[in-house]
């Protein structure tokens, strides 16, 4: 039983990270039907900026918590700038273009970000400084660390905050209006370009937080770390129904749980025919299964293609 609880904790932590990254995909898709493939690399930039800030501040002898907060703040600001620049320079000029053009551009932006990061931070995997001491707590025979507790609670706070923003504020109303119909929203006095830019900036800020969480959880940061994480988070967004904010959260958590439980039990269930190396395969089988039965994802609505 303690093993099962441990796997649940592992899966929830992983899923919370997927969910926060998936929110960035789903918000952008919801508003302009663009799959921003560079989103995973914004996560990486967040981790890298935080890494540099922590390394720079380490000799000053500040309290560790202050250093982490300052580093996260710097990462969020840098990623917001990148998110804005990305939208302004790469996607806005293609607003009226066929859907394939911005999609290819997104892949291009992803490659550019990765290579810039490689030039700045080198190809080497970087050891993310563990300045907050990791403490383990025991619950029912399973262990949970303070980093995991932080990841879970920060993710929950982010999701709650985002839901409040989208459903309770004027900006959120403007976002939903633009998502429904940019032209009509414009006629109602909403500056669609501003709202879209804002969506990118919020998504990038979430990505930065996710980057810091991932890097401090695993203790490692690498210029290519964003691509695999981004792909998984994208799948989580699709699983939950892309464009749907609660769907991204559900998809993320579900994917994390499926991966952890898959790796933990698939070997025993199949008599070691399939081992833990099939953990990713298992996650994608679940994704395909859901999409076959519900093509618009778990919480996605069946809407006609507006493009």
């Amino acid at each position: 039983m303690d093993i099962f609880i441990q796997q649940l904790i592992n899966g929830l932590t992983l899923g919370a990270v997927y969910a926060v990254v998936a929110l960035g995909y789903t918000m952008v898709y919801g508003i302009i039907q663009l799959i921003n493939f560079a989103h995973g690399d914004v996560v990486m930039v967040g981790a890298m900026v935080a890494f540099s800030v922590i390394v720079a501040l380490a000799p000053l002898g500040l309290p560790p918590l202050v250093v982490v907060l300052v580093a996260t703040g710097c990462a969020v600001l840098s990623c917001m700038l990148i998110g804005y620049a990305m939208e302004r320079l790469a996607y806005r000029p293609l607003r009226g273009a066929p859907r394939l053009a911005p999609l290819i551009t997104a892949i291009g932006v992803s490659i550019i970000l990765q290579h810039l990061a490689m030039m700045i931070w080198s190809r080497n995997p970087l050891a993310f400084p563990q300045i907050l001491k990791t403490q383990s707590y025991d619950i029912g025979g399973a262990t949970i660390t303070n980093v995991q507790i932080a990841i879970l609670s920060i993710s929950l706070a982010i999701m709650a905050g985002l839901v409040a923003l989208v459903y309770r504020t004027r900006l959120g109303t403007a976002m939903r209006a633009t998502a429904q119909n940019p032209q009509v929203a414009g006629l109602m006095g909403i500056d669609a370009n501003r709202v879209i830019a804002f969506t990118f900036v919020i998504g990038a800020a979430l990505a930065a937080v996710a980057g810091v969480m991932v890097a401090s959880y695993y203790g490692i940061a690498h210029y290519a770390m964003g691509s695999q994480l981004g792909l998984k988070a994208f799948c989580a967004a699709v699983l939950g129904g892309i464009g749907n904010i609660p769907g991204a959260m559900l998809g993320g958590v579900l994917l994390g749980l499926v991966e952890a439980l898959g790796a933990g039990y698939i070997g025993d269930l199949t008599g070691n025919v399939f081992g833990s190396n099939y953990q990713d395969v298992f996650a994608f089988i679940v994704l395909i299964g859901v999409l076959v039965l519900r093509p618009s994802g778990l919480l996605g609505e069946r809407v006609g293609d507006r493009a």
Binding site: I3, Q6, Q7, N10, G11, T13, L14, S122, R123, N124, P125, A127, Q130, T134, S136, T143, T145, Y218, G219, I220, H222, A224, M225, Q228, E259, A260, L261, G262, A263, G264, Y265, G267, N272, G275, S276, N277, Q279
Partner: protein, 405 residues
């Protein structure tokens, strides 16, 4: 001798750019230009290791030039052509062809198994001997290619070495093995499993990740329930670091043990204090155990400490030069038989080759992590385990021997 004449022509052509007077001087004084290739990644993630490899070969070449070696009645002028293979098999083949076209007399390299194996076909096809100072995959010398040598141990010697050490010292009853599904990681893990099973240890069903896996929690949680006494992982340091860190976080009470891919000081950075107590192995001897003459010369020439394989590439270049001296020729067809039968006291100890081109009695070193630093604890040679301190005391003798040469 066509080879060396072309070499002279190339030098003459280069000299002509600055002034044609010099090439006459070079020819009349009877100099013999001999090019030796050196290939390692000089850019990218392990560029520092690549430069270290190149430095070792460069030092040997410069010392040979200073010694004024005479081959075939002429004064030999060795020249090192250093190339960058970017750790990439395709680039490796391109630079290998480039060296073949430049008519090098021999090659020191490549650094990685993944680049050495494909490139060895090109060198062997052109009858140019290659000696690697760092590629450990058995396949390199298992394909019966002529003129392919290595001066480090093989993975199928390393696996048993680290497994036997583990059995003798940690005395595990149950061992879990994980690999990263690469040729290196899986191959090494298989060798370890074979040895452990032969020693009567209960080995759990294999777990696998990928060479990009950083989340090992699910796998480790599963293993924790099986209560292993030791965990062996075949993979590189960037995945092994998170594995070690997460293992300790989950409270897996086992001795963690890795192969040479994860036997670096980086482990201390990635895993922090969790890395203490790690057992890991490296093919060959640690650089600080190389001959004092080499260590002093290297530091004097490059102003840095040798990092990993430079004593081996130094020996590799010296072996080529020594064989040329012995055959009194820089023609591979003439000096290759000498190289095959050579018995040479190098910076890493006595070197001779078996019929495959592998070094006879290659050493393996077992390390442990203490306070974030790797400490060598034992050297394994020919199935015998020697304490590191005793090995250092022994090597003082052959090192002095090498100094005389």
């Amino acid at each position: 001798m066509i080879r060396s004449h072309i070499g002279i022509a190339a030098i003459a052509a280069m000299a002509c750019v600055s002034g044609c007077g010099e090439d006459k001087k070079a020819q009349t004084s009877g100099k013999l230009a001999i090019a030796i290739g050196s290939v390692a990644p000089l850019t990218g993630g392990i560029a520092h290791l690549g430069k270290d490899n190149e430095n070792g070969a460069r030092l040997a070449v410069e010392e040979a030039n200073a010694a004024g070696i005479r081959i075939d009645g002429k004064e030999a002028v060795f020249q090192l052509l250093a190339e960058d293979d970017q750790e990439d098999a395709k680039v490796g083949n391109t630079v290998a062809q480039k060296l073949v076209d430049a008519k090098v007399a021999g090659v020191v390299g490549h650094l990685n198994s993944g680049t050495s194996i494909p490139a060895s076909n090109i060198y062997s096809g052109a009858n140019i001997p290659m000696i690697t100072g760092s590629a450990t995959n058995p396949e390199l010398t298992e394909r019966g290619l002529k003129g392919v040598f290595r001066v480090v141990g093989r993975d199928d010697q390393q696996g048993p070495a680290v497994a036997n050490y583990l059995v003798a010292n940690a005395k595990p009853k149950v061992v879990a093995i994980i690999d990263d599904a690469t040729a290196y990681g899986k191959g090494l893990a298989n060798e370890v499993e074979k040895t452990l099973k032969a020693a009567g240890v209960n080995v759990l069903a294999r777990e696998q990740g990928t060479n990009k896996t950083v989340d090992w929690k699910a796998v480790l949680t599963k293993l924790k329930g099986r209560l292993p006494d030791a965990v062996f992982y075949g993979g590189m340091d960037s995945t092994a670091g998170p594995l070690l860190k997460q293992g300790k976080e989950l409270g897996v009470k086992a001795v963690f043990s890795f192969g040479d891919g994860a036997c670096t000081d980086k482990m201390g950075e990635f895993a922090g204090s969790a890395a203490d107590g790690l057992l890991c192995s490296q093919a060959g001897i640690p650089p600080q155990a190389a001959s004092k003459k080499f260590l002093d010369a290297y530091k004097k020439r490059f102003n840095v400490e040798p990092i990993l394989y430079s004593p081996f590439t130094y020996d590799a270049a010296n072996l080529l030069i020594e064989a040329m001296k012995g055959a009194n020729s820089a023609d591979p067809a003439k000096y290759l038989p000498v190289l095959q039968k050579i018995d040479f006291a190098g910076a890493t100890g006595r070197i001779s080759f078996d019929e495959k081109g592998d070094r006879k009695d290659a050493e393996m070193t077992i390390f442990t992590m203490k306070g974030g630093k790797l400490m060598p604890i034992a050297i394994i040679k020919g199935g015998k385990t020697v304490k590191y301190e005793d090995f250092i005391a022994q090597t003082a003798a052959p090192a002095a021997d090498a100094a005389k040469k």
